[in-house]
């Protein structure tokens, strides 16, 4: 009890300094949690985009970005004919710009695509997708930022299109996208007779291995991956995740430096007190435990404040209409656990030098200068 009182007393003597350290860790944790959650959400959304009502995605082998993948229509037709396949939908991804909007994602899909089937129609008729020349569907968010309504003409890239429907989709990418009939998209993006991927739903999930084997055998330039495999191996996802953790860890390192600074100052300003503890029998281990206890307390408190701050930030970001569907506010417990553990370890690491210094304090020298 007195040991803990010693720890708290030391921290409470310099409240501002302690508060700044806690704030440093808190902001780092909040930044890490926010960045990681947003990017995890983005990855999940993109992943969800591919796995809409499907289990397997087929794309061109060795492409770093699916926008550059070319899957021939002939392959899609063959795959659709396989008995183990329930549905195989070719999807073409493209990115274009319009006035004031540098990036608009376009999806070339067939009329029976699961995305359209499962979406909520805000305006227009389902059967209007396809028959109307230059007719496109807009996600609700896309219709907002393009200021388009049903029947509007919208300039997208080098073309002008008629809005034949507005749909609401849960996925942020899709809700901010433009849906074109596949043939129109192939023509628009100069990808004749090809799509970016084929999303495949099998009649029986157990046939996944056999399906992959058949794709590898019959289409040497293509690769089939289960959704989970794709999430793990797709290089863009890896880059996004690595970036998120790198940014977060950099933030935590800065927070750790703050803790180190606080602990160094804390040790330097009470050398005599440490000497008194030594005179009264405190061992090196007990002195170190006291210093680590202080930094641990600062780190844990900072981590808790940071978690609350991060959760609040994510909640507020989700409220912003422009970010609708982009922020996945579902916080994963393992992410929170890792963030807290990293904060704690950072705090402990920050106390290494101060603890070593405190252990070297020679009581007789510290007490000599009374």
């Amino acid at each position: 009890m007195i040991f803990f009182k010693l720890i708290l007393t030391n921290l409470s003597r310099h409240r501002v300094r302690t508060a700044i350290s806690i704030a440093g860790i808190a902001f780092s944790v909040a930044a890490m949690l926010t960045v990681v959650t947003i990017l995890q959400g983005a990855v999940a959304m993109f992943s969800g985009l591919l796995s809409a009502n499907s289990q397997i995605v087929v794309f061109e082998k060795n492409v770093s970005d699916l926008f550059f993948s070319n899957v021939p229509d002939s392959a899609a037709k063959q795959i659709q004919s396989w008995s183990m396949v329930d549905q195989a939908n070719p999807v073409l991804f493209g990115i274009v710009a319009s006035t004031d909007h540098p990036i608009i994602t376009c999806f070339g899909v067939t009329a029976d695509d699961a995305r359209l089937r499962d979406s909520k129609w805000i305006a227009g008729q389902r059967n209007s997708f396809g028959p109307v020349p230059d007719g496109v569907l807009l996600g609700q968010r896309a219709s907002d930022f393009l200021h388009a309504r049903l029947g509007s003409q919208v300039a997208i890239g080098h073309g002008t299109f008629k809005v034949v429907g507005i749909i609401r989709l849960k996925n942020g990418f899709e809700d901010g996208g433009v849906f074109m009939p596949l043939a129109m998209a192939q023509k628009f993006f100069h990808k004749q007779d090809a799509s970016s991927v084929i999303t495949v739903k099998l009649r029986n999930r157990k046939d996944a291995a056999e399906f992959k084997r058949m794709v590898a055998q019959r289409f040497p330039t293509l690769v089939a991956l289960k959704d989970q495999e794709f999430d793990r191996t797709y290089s863009q996802f890896k880059i996004l995740k690595a970036t998120a953790w790198a940014v977060g860890i950099c933030g935590l390192l800065l927070g750790g430096l703050g803790v180190a600074n606080t602990m160094i100052m804390s040790v330097f300003t009470r050398i005599r007190e440490i000497a008194i503890l030594r005179v009264n029998g405190f061992s090196n281990g007990q002195i170190a435990a006291m210093i680590f206890g202080e930094s641990g307390f600062v780190s844990i408190l900072g981590a808790v404040v940071g978690l609350l701050l991060g959760i609040a930030t994510i909640f507020l970001l989700k409220m912003i209409p422009a970010l609708h569907g982009y922020i996945d506010s579902h916080l994963q417990p393992w992410v929170m656990l890792i963030v807290v553990m990293l904060a704690f370890l950072t705090g402990i690491a920050g106390a290494l030098y101060p603890a070593a210094y405190a252990m070297r304090v020679r009581a007789v020298e510290a007490l000599r200068f009374e």
């Binding site: 007393t9 005179v279 029998g281 020679r362 009374e370």
Partner: protein, 233 residues
């Protein structure tokens, strides 16, 4: 002096202490033995090495040459078990050296925390000491609210918490007024007797020194005279 007084608890053998590559010599071959239960006063002018000798005997510092035996254990340079010795040796300084922010009670319990004594046992010991030193009614007070005498009584309680066999006191009354000084010294002597403690005290006050069993006179880092006072008890 106690019946077991023939047994030496402190042996100082040809101890020398110097600093800055022998440029500053503080102790120049001190030989010194203290028997169990003795009260010894170290006297001498400032800078003669009294405090340094106390620090060496308490294992707070290491001699440049020579050796010291405490309670039958020869102190070894850099030994990781030296801190354990501090459970057998209590220290009282001229300044109380209490930790601000803690109460009187918490300050006194620090040695018990260091030694891993159970809370109940430590509390019992504290109450016993606090009663005898007259600070039992101030236990919950932060040290900032204590008088100089009370602070030194607190320091005395703290030094005796782990029932050390040896108490080293470095001018324990040096910062107190005459009346308080006499009270603290009387308390020190009484506790030394009742707790069966060997007391070695550095002091400038000859009248207090003469009340100890032995008076050791130091000058220029050496013991120049050691004699029984004949006044004690």
């Amino acid at each position: 002096m106690n019946s077991d007084s023939s047994r030496p608890v402190l042996i100082v053998e040809d101890v020398r202490k110097s600093y800055e590559n022998d440029a500053i010599r503080v102790l120049n071959g001190v030989n010194f033995t203290v028997h169990r239960g003795q009260t010894v006063a170290l006297c001498g002018p400032s800078g003669c090495g009294k405090s340094t000798l106390l620090h060496l005997m308490g294992a707070l510092d290491e001699p440049t040459t020579g050796r010291i035996c405490v309670n039958g254990q020869w102190l070894q340079r850099g030994s990781s078990t030296l801190h354990l010795l501090r459970h057998q040796v209590g220290f009282v300084f001229q300044l109380h050296h209490l930790i601000p922010g803690l109460t009187l009670e918490e300050n006194c319990l620090i040695p018990a925390v260091a030694a891993g004594t159970s809370r109940g046992e430590a509390q019992q010991r504290l109450l016993q000491l606090a009663e005898r030193t007259g600070i039992a009614h101030r236990l919950k007070q932060p040290i900032q609210k204590l008088s100089g005498g009370e602070r030194q009584r607190t320091a005395l309680c703290r030094a005796l918490m782990n029932r050390p066999g040896i108490l080293l006191a470095d001018e324990p009354t040096g910062a107190l007024d005459e009346k308080t000084s006499e009270q603290i010294f009387a308390l020190l002597m009484e506790l030394a007797q009742t707790e069966e403690i060997t007391l070695v005290m550095a002091t400038h006050d000859r009248s207090l020194a003469r009340q100890c069993d032995r008076l050791v006179e130091m000058r220029d880092g050496m013991v120049v005279e050691s004699s029984d006072t004949g006044e004690a008890k």
